[in-house]
Every structure is written in C-alpha cells, then in structure tokens.
C-alpha cells in the first residue's frame, strides 16, 4: 500500500484516498510543435524500473494535485512536492541521490545539483 504525504493539506494519505495522474513533468506541445514532439507528448511515457516522477491528486481529501518521486520496484517514496513546478526541487533530487546514487530520469539526474 502506497502512502503519500500531501504537500497541500499535510495528510499522509493512503492510495485509496488518492487518484493517480500519470507521468509528471510533461511538456505540453501545442500549435507550432513538430509532429515528432507532438507524438511524444501524446503517446510516449516513461516506464522505468526504479526512480519515477508522477502526478497524484488528493481526490478524497483536499482535492489538490501534487507531485511524487518514488521507486517503482520497491515502492519507496523519496518525497512529494508542489504541483506548481516544471522540475523536481533540489531537496527531492538530493533525497533520491542519497538512496539511488547516479539516478537519471529523462533530463533530470543526480548530476543536476552536484
């Protein structure tokens, strides 16, 4: 059972109180984007074994969307953070680096803040 701390209301919510929102930090392609970028945005998603970034909504709670960084193999949660960002904040990346040295995910990696 996954338990995520909602950064908005402060509740440690278990999975059944949450709604999964899929991969985090997508770039929303739009008018003017080329076909390849658009296809990527619409259809291509990361499916990592290990560090992953996701969107979640505290659906049966305060109702807010937030971000979570976790490990898909162990279900370990590295941290949750605000939805109002396009990249994981430093403390989240540091927390992941402490547990999974050398991690990388799309354009984010352990090197970002080293």
């Amino acid at each position: 059972m996954l338990i995520l701390h909602c950064p908005y209301c402060g509740v440690d919510a278990e999975e059944t109180e949450l709604h999964a929102g899929g991969q985090a930090h997508l770039t929303r392609e739009t008018v003017g984007s080329d076909d390849e970028a658009f296809e990527d945005y619409l259809f291509m998603r990361e499916n990592p074994k290990g560090v992953h970034f996701e969107r979640w909504r505290h659906a049966s709670g305060c109702g807010k969307w937030f971000h979570a960084a976790r490990c898909t193999t162990t279900l370990e949660v590295f941290g949750t953070y605000s939805a109002q960002t396009t990249a994981p904040p430093r403390e989240i990346c540091d927390a992941i680096s402490g547990k999974r040295p050398g991690w990388s995910w799309k354009t984010f990696s352990a090197r970002m803040f080293s």
Binding site: Y8, C9, G10, V11, A13, E14, T16, E17, S60, G61, C62, G63, K64
Partner: protein, 185 residues
Amino acid sequence: MSEVQGLLRSDGFVAVRQLPLRGMITVKGDLSATALKNVATGLSGVDFPGPRECNCVGDNGIAWMAPDEILLMVTHATIPDAMAKVAATLQGQHYLAADVSDARTIFELEGAGVREVIAKLAPVDLAPDVFPPSAFRRTRLGQVPAAFWLKDNQTAELICFRSVTQYVFDILTHAARANTQVSYF
C-alpha cells in the same frame, strides 16, 4: 425521488442520527486575508481553524477544507443573510462562495466507540493522540467522499453528499452493530 430524512438507529454500540439540514457555505479564497477570516468568524462565532481542524458549536462552525478553502456552517434559516454578508465583505477580492447546504447531509455519531465506527470505514488513524477532538478530516467513507470531526471523545459529526445519504447511513449502522466492537482504541 423521495427525500431521506430523520434517519436514526441507536441499537448498535454507537448511535447514528441524521441531523436536520445545516447551512453550509463553501468559501474559497486567501485564508490569511483578514476580511475572509473576519466574516467567517463573525458569522459562525467560533475561532478560525488551523489546518485540518474544525471549530463548531451547535450549528455554527468553520471547517478547514484545503489551504484555500473553508466550510462555513450556520443555521439553515440564516443562509440568505450569511451569503449576503460574505458577498458584501469580500467584494472586490478574489474569492468564491457557494451555498452547498442542500447538497449535503450531516450525521451525528454518539457513543464510546465512535472512533472505531469511523476507523472501520475510513483510511484514517483515529488514535486519540493523532485525532483529538476538533481535528477534521476530508476523506472517503466506504466508497464515497465524506468529512468528519470529533466534538468530543464520544461524539462525531460527519458530512457527505445528500445523494449518498442512505448508503452512508447503512455503512455507519453496519459498522456500529452491537457486539462488533473491536476495542482497538
């Protein structure tokens, strides 16, 4: 559709009672704004709650719903006045106020095992040191959204959507059946 009203069952280890309609106004806005706090505390007569808290006396209260949302409770008959007062006080500010009174049902649960009845149905730690009286939680109850707070260690108030009144009453009374107490807390 016939209206479900006045549901009551008290043969379990916790009594479940549907309360009469209560005035409820959802207010969204900047919870640190003086005008918002003043109109909420002025209309309800209770202190402004902190995060995950509800202050409620009788029909009047304020529940903290989210960092930008409160539920303002008043007696049902005073709703038009309360809505007018909110509008007048917050005019020109970025806010939203909606009268949700008729969208809601409110239950009172009473009995020494009140924590247990709720804990059987909601994914919430109801241990006395974690969830003291005045703590407030928006969550799910069985399969539907609900919110509750403890008035004291034996009494809780619980709100849900009016459309699921019968379902919520049924699962509450089922969880409160006599001789099903786990005595965990």
